[in-house]
Symmetry: C2
Amino acid sequence: MRSYGQYCGLARALDVVGERWTLLIVRELLDGPRRYGQLLEGLPGIPSNLLVDRLRRMEESGVVGRLDDGRYRLSPWGQGLHEAVYALGRWAGPLMAKPRGRDAFRSNWMRHMVIARFEGVDSRRRDLVVELRTGDDPLTLISAAGRVHLHQGPVADPDVVLAGPPESVVGLLLGRISQAEALGAGVHVTGRARLLAGLRPRGEAV
Amino acid sequence: MRSYGQYCGLARALDVVGERWTLLIVRELLDGPRRYGQLLEGLPGIPSNLLVDRLRRMEESGVVGRLDDGRYRLSPWGQGLHEAVYALGRWAGPLMAKPRGRDAFRSNWMRHMVIARFEGVDSRRRDLVVELRTGDDPLTLISAAGRVHLHQGPVADPDVVLAGPPESVVGLLLGRISQAEALGAGVHVTGRARLLAGLRPRGEAV
DNA sequence: CTGCATCCGGGCCGATACTG
DNA sequence: CAGTATCGGCCCGGATGCAG
């Protein structure tokens, strides 16, 4: 990518990670080291030549390194993109309510979306276990002692189970839509959805 | 910009602000409403047709609005990009040490760079007034009661004055380089530079 | 003079085919 | 599985035109 040629933190950051697809590759690598094929799988739509090109550049700039087994992983500096990636994801909150028919979906993206809204400790947060079923793998949200953890797969005896299309399950979980709207959008609720308000997610940007 | 077609917060954010120049336009508008000509001035290198194109798209997506006098400004939602922009700017810290000869420079960019490292309250932060002279306008950093404010222009009787090239003045201020290195790079120091350590900037990512 | 609009060459992107 | 190669088209960059 052509440099912006500006002595400014944002401009220099974008010189390195501003190209198309680059931050999405970072998103995938935030989950840990990944093989080339796993990255292709996790980035539907990316042409294979672009994926290679981006990985090469990210290696050169020191954002990405490789393990002995060939897997790609973020450098410590690259891991520092966590804050920026999550800040952008949170900012997009208002865009997430509208389903857009043909969008691809992966359950680890949902994990990030949910974690981004529940980072940090909130002493007034209620203890709760919520199972999220949408598409492939179920995901379980565990709120305890003011913190929220996410667990891949189901756990025994959740307090609430939400099943249905991603944007509505997430919408109900984060309080973007009402229970009535969620039901109308095909969400199947088991347990008392009213308890969800006790999770106290971070507010949307607008 | 072509959509990534992914139901993911980051991907939808980048669908809106991921195009080249868009986040730099946001950076300029974070300083308040701006005229078209001011934006051109603050974005050296941008072609005029791209600036117009980006502004139109940002209006459509609701990131930017216009005042009665024609000036562009961020919507409340657009203002929410502050966190992401600053997170990216902080992440670029390690890139800022190296000067890159021909980079453009504006003093409001330096304001952002400095503010990004001193956001929030730190009760162990020492009270201090530092004048930064680099290029055009002087800038004064005022640390008081654990908070840091920046003031355009000089104030009477600063504790420390740093004058010289931007990357070295900022480098010394943020503790990226030693006083000896700064002097070698042409920084002129008045007052006791040792006091700068008491400002306790946020650490670099790596 | 400000605030754009138009035009054009080149480079980046996207899709697919191919190889070790 | 992990990339290479190729090619059409779109986006970007630089220059210029032009109306209020």
